[in-house]
Structure formats: structure tokens, C-alpha cells
């Protein structure tokens, strides 16, 4: 196989090496340090820190928030990508920009938006208060903030692929008499299933790790509204470094496992595509 460019060897080998060294310094070493710090006083201390009731509550809450947000964003993301890639309608560009908004806005602002809407002094505050409905500083607020921040992951992973695949297969299905739902389920979805899984996993990793937006709407009630990232900060501020790093390591582990699953899926999908071609 010929290289696409005719760069000298120094660049062909030097650049990837440089990238690898940088990645090691910026990502791998700090991550290793988190695990080393977590286990510095032994597995016993680390596990005891994780078994603490407030920590268990934080883990449960994090998983619950992800379990609600990820399906919401999966359905929403598929719908958005499908609408954008397979249909023409006025305001399409606007929708694409909208979908990307959470990527470009600081998470702190994403959180503040919900305080502004649902806080006691916010637009819907008095209405909600009369009805005794708590949105921010409770689970609904945490879910809303997480959904907002992680919305683009599924949509952005699917959109380019769906656009590239074009509409010919869907049109063929329609010609053969398939209903809209049948077309979607039998044609569109199978074509993007690997990309979809990758998007869902990325979305999940971020949903579990989100700090900024969630911090604004959490209220930081121990054992009630603290997610894992917030709990790490609390433990660190309480000089419980072993505990803080143990929870941080667990959180990092969840992220690494998610990314590992994504890499495995990508390889599997490449092999399938390679076989089909």
C-alpha cells in the first residue's frame, strides 16, 4: 500500500511518535496517577471508602441519572439525525446548529439555564413551588442538566454516517411498499447500528462524568443529590484523599471500560464492513 503523501520518513514516523508521547504525558500518566493514589494505602482502604454509604448513594445516583439520560438522548439523537439526514425541511440548518449548542456552551451555563427556568426565583419557580414540585436540587434537575450536556453525542455520531449513506435504500424500500416505520426499523437502523452503539457509549461516559452543569443544579446534599464527580470533590475537600482517589479511580474505570467497549465495537464493525466490501 502506498502512502497518500510522500513525506520524508522523519515526518512519517516523527509525528505519530510525538502524538503518542504527548498522549502519554497528557492522558495516560495522570490516569495512572489516579489509580496509584487510590491504591497507595492498599485495596482495603480504597474498598472501604467506596463501601461508605454516602459514596454508594453517589454511585447509585450517577448510574440512575445515566440510565435515564442515555435512553432519552438515544431516542432524541436518532430522531434528530434521521430528520436531518433523510429529510428536507425549512430550518434544517438551524436544527443542526441547535444540536451542537451543548458542545459550544460552557456546562456551567447549561446548569444556570435550568436554575433560571426552574429555580425558586426563576420563570416557572412560583408555579412549581405552589405544586410542591422540586426540579433543581433534585433528581429531575440532575437528569435535565445531563441530558442537555450529553445530547449531541448520539446525534453527532449518526448524522455524518446517515448523510453519507444517502436516501436511495430508503427510497427503494418505500417503492417496494414498506411503511415509514418498517423502513426505519429494517433499513435505516441496521445501517447505523455500530455508529449508534459508539454514540451511546460516548454519551454514557460523559453522562457519568459530567461535573459543571450538575454541580450547579445539585444542591450538594450528601447521600441525596451528589453524583460521583461531585462526591470526589467533596471527599477531596474533606482531606479524605484516599477516598477521593478511590471514587475517582472507580469513575475513571467506568469511563475506560465504556471506551474499551466502544473500541471493540468499532473493530467488529470495521471487520464486517471489510467483509461486505
Amino acid at each position: 500500500m502506498r502512502s497518500a503523501t510522500a513525506d520524508p520518513a522523519a515526518i512519517r514516523w516523527g509525528l505519530p511518535l510525538l502524538a503518542l508521547v504527548l498522549a502519554t504525558i497528557i492522558f495516560a500518566l495522570p490516569l495512572a496517577a489516579v489509580f496509584a493514589e487510590a491504591l497507595r494505602r492498599g485495596w482495603g482502604v480504597a474498598l472501604a471508602a467506596i463501601a461508605e454509604p454516602d459514596t454508594l448513594a453517589a454511585i447509585q445516583l450517577t448510574l440512575l441519572v445515566a440510565a435515564i439520560s442515555v435512553p432519552v438522548n438515544t431516542v432524541g439523537g436518532i430522531a434528530a439525525a434521521w430528520a436531518v439526514a433523510k429529510h428536507d425541511f425549512p430550518g434544517k440548518r438551524l436544527l443542526v446548529t441547535w444540536i451542537e449548542l451543548p458542545f459550544s456552551v460552557s456546562p456551567v451555563i447549561s446548569g444556570l439555564v435550568f436554575v433560571l427556568l426552574f429555580g425558586a426565583q426563576g420563570y416557572f419557580g412560583p408555579w412549581l413551588r405552589e405544586r410542591d414540585i422540586q426540579i433543581i436540587f433534585a433528581l429531575p434537575g440532575l437528569v435535565l442538566a445531563t441530558v442537555f450536556v450529553t445530547f449531541p453525542f448520539v446525534a453527532r455520531t449518526l448524522m455524518p454516517l446517515m448523510q453519507e449513506q444517502g436516501r436511495s435504500e430508503e427510497e427503494a424500500a418505500a417503492t417496494l411498499g414498506a411503511s415509514g416505520w418498517q423502513t426505519f426499523r429494517r433499513v435505516t437502523l441496521p445501517n447505523v447500528k455500530w455508529a449508534l452503539l459508539a454514540g451511546v457509549l460516548l454519551c454514557n461516559a460523559r453522562a457519568m462524568g459530567e461535573f459543571g452543569a450538575v454541580s450547579v443544579v445539585s444542591g450538594h446534599i450528601r447521600g441525596q443529590t451528589n453524583t460521583m464527580p461531585l462526591h470526589v470533590e467533596i471527599l477531596y475537600n474533606e482531606y479524605m484523599f484516599a477516598g477521593a482517589f478511590a471514587v475517582a479511580a472507580l469513575l475513571a474505570l467506568l469511563g475506560v471500560v465504556t471506551l474499551g467497549a466502544k473500541a471493540v465495537l468499532e473493530r467488529a464493525s470495521e471487520r464486517r464492513l471489510g467483509g461486505a466490501a
Binding site: 436554575v115 426565583q121 410542591d132 436540587f137 433528581l139 435535565l144 475537600n237
Partner: protein
């Protein structure tokens, strides 16, 4: 997905939580939310267990006490935004005033419990490194050249405001001291501060973990905690001759307790802070107890310092806040980030 879809989802998600909340109010055990500031974590962890036991001992079901900690001003803001605190235990009266201003509790809240609604007091001390190499004995020694001072930002931290006011009170007391000389001294002080963290805990981490600065202006209880948590650092506490009487106040949040039906237990919770057990726990966590007998029993742990009050020197928190810390106040004038 549209905005209305989102809020409908939120309502659906809220329903089970609501059902649980109302069940708790009618049923047996009650929950209480104490919204507090940063350095009280250790105190309230122990106090909550003590109160729960005492409340259960009086024939009630054992309550669940939740706490939330953060910078005092930020915590007040959260309650204003709807964090359903039953009781507030903050760093300074001004922050509770802000909540009262929005109608969450009566404006005269500070007269409802003894001692200005402050069941314990604290003061500001100087925390120095092993062997006190810069020979810091009192506030005046901070202004020697080459002394680097760590204190948080008075804009965001309650403790930092107490630090500032304590130093100002000292400067007024100096021979020929007046508002002008005090402002000069405070200006010089903040020139020697290399970094302003947002809260007391962040500043302490800067001082101890990152090894920045020669002296840390600290809450008395926070200084003792640092000695306990970092014994290998060899830190030493220096008591200045004069400091400020910090009165961290507590209050029941009327609107929230009436809505949740928790007024009786919230009131009992705060009153328990004034009981012998509450006072002993305060002393144990290095807060100065109000109870004379408990203070006497712990006299060795609380060296005598002449303590001035915000009311005497500054005419109360509202005036101190307006003159010194609000936008356009003296702190803004003397401290220009990035400037000279």
C-alpha cells in the same frame, strides 16, 4: 426534542420523588436539611448523630438529617434558588439576611435564638509554617517585606471577609490609626497575597499542599483541623493580640419548614446546639462555646484573645458589607486583579 417534551419528562420523573416526600411528612420518620458552610462538615456530622439520638430518645422516630456544604454566600444563593433548607447554619449573618430579604424567613430572625442566634463563635488566627521562620507574632508582622500571605477572596468567602475585618480592626487600633491608615494597611496586605482562592478549604489546600505562602489567615477551627490532618507539616497556630469575634449564625427557614411540616424538629435541632451536648461538640471541633461552664472546661484549648465585634467596629454586617465588599466598595478599590 422540544422544550415542552423536556419539562413533561421532568414532571414525570419528579412524581415518585414527590410521593415519597409526602409519605415521609405524614408517616413516621422526618428528614431535615441543614444547609451549612465549608468548615462545619466535621462538627455537623457528629452533631447530627447526637441530635438524632436525642430526638429519638424523646419518643420520636429517628430522623434523617441531611447536610449540604459549600461557600457561605453560594449556599445562601442556592436556598434563594429553591434548595429546600429547613435550617441554615452559615458563616455570617449577612448571608442569612440575603435569604430573609427574599421572604424565606422573618427579617428579625437573628433575635429568635440566644446570643444573636450564634450558638458558637470563632475567631481569626494566623497559621504559620514549622518553627515560624518569618517570626510572625501579630498582625503587624504580616506587613514586613517578603512575607507572603494566603487568604481566600472576600467576594466569595465568608471566612475571608472575617480575615479582612479582623485586620482592619487591628489597623484602626494602631497609634494614629484611622480609616485612611487602615485602608493603606489593607491595601499593602492584599499586595502580599499571591493567590485568592474562592473558599477557605481551597486556600488551606494552597497553603498546605501546594506550599504557597508564609502565613495563612484562618478560622480558628480550620487551623486546628489543619494541624490534625497534616501533622507531618509541623504547622503552628499564632494567636494575634486582637482579633474579631466571628458569630456564625443559625436560623430556621420559615417558608420551607411550614411547607414541609418540619418546624418543630427544625427548632429543636437548633436549640440542641445550645444544650450542653451541643456546646461540648462545638468545643470539640474548635468552635468557642457560648456556655460559660463548657468554655471553662475547655479553657486551655481557647487562648484568651481580645475580640472585637462587627457591630462595635463596623456598625453591623449590612454596613460592613456595603462599605467594604459590595461592588464598588473598598475591596474593589484596593484590589485590582492583574493591576498594580
Amino acid at each position: 426534542m422540544t422544550a415542552s417534551d423536556l419539562s413533561r419528562r421532568a414532571l414525570l420523573a419528579a412524581a415518585p420523588a414527590l410521593a415519597a416526600a409526602s409519605a415521609a411528612a405524614q408517616g413516621a420518620a422526618q428528614t431535615l436539611l441543614n444547609v451549612s458552610y465549608d468548615p462545619t462538615r466535621e462538627l455537623y456530622r457528629e452533631f447530627n448523630a447526637a441530635f438524632a439520638a436525642s430526638w429519638a430518645g424523646r419518643g420520636n422516630p429517628r430522623p434523617t438529617i441531611n447536610t449540604s456544604h459549600g461557600g457561605s454566600g453560594r449556599q445562601a444563593r442556592s436556598v434563594i434558588d429553591g434548595l429546600a433548607a429547613d435550617v441554615l447554619t452559615l458563616a455570617l449573618a449577612y448571608d442569612i439576611d440575603e435569604v430573609a430579604e427574599r421572604g424565606f424567613l422573618a427579617r428579625d430572625w437573628q433575635r429568635r435564638l440566644p446570643h444573636n442566634s450564634s450558638p458558637y463563635t470563632s475567631t481569626i488566627v494566623l497559621l504559620v509554617r514549622r518553627g515560624n521562620p518569618k517570626r510572625i507574632r501579630d498582625w503587624g508582622d504580616l506587613l514586613q517585606s517578603g512575607v507572603s500571605i494566603v487568604t481566600p477572596n472576600p467576594k466569595t468567602s465568608g471566612g475571608a471577609r472575617w480575615n479582612y475585618l479582623a485586620f482592619w480592626a487591628w489597623a484602626l487600633r494602631q497609634p494614629g490609626g484611622n480609616e485612611r491608615t487602615a485602608e493603606q494597611a489593607v491595601t499593602q496586605l492584599y499586595r502580599q497575597v499571591p493567590v485568592l482562592d474562592t473558599g477557605a478549604r481551597g486556600s488551606l489546600t494552597t497553603f498546605v499542599q501546594r506550599n504557597v505562602g508564609d502565613v495563612f489567615l484562618s478560622w480558628e477551627n480550620e487551623a486546628h483541623l489543619a494541624l490534625q490532618e497534616f501533622p507531618q507539616a509541623g504547622l503552628e497556630i499564632v494567636y494575634p493580640r486582637l482579633s474579631i469575634l466571628a458569630e456564625p449564625p443559625v436560623a430556621v427557614v420559615d417558608q420551607n419548614v411550614d411547607r414541609r411540616g418540619t418546624r418543630v424538629i427544625a427548632q429543636a435541632y437548633l436549640e440542641h446546639l445550645y444544650s450542653t451536648e451541643g456546646q461540648q461538640l462545638a468545643a470539640k471541633h474548635h468552635y468557642r462555646p457560648r456556655d460559660a461552664a463548657v468554655l471553662e472546661a475547655n479553657a486551655a484549648r481557647f487562648p484568651r484573645v481580645e475580640l472585637v465585634t462587627v457591630d462595635d467596629v463596623f456598625g453591623g454586617w449590612q454596613r460592613a458589607q456595603a462599605a467594604h465588599f459590595n461592588d464598588g466598595g473598598i475591596f474593589d478599590r484596593i484590589h485590582r486583579p492583574g493591576g498594580r
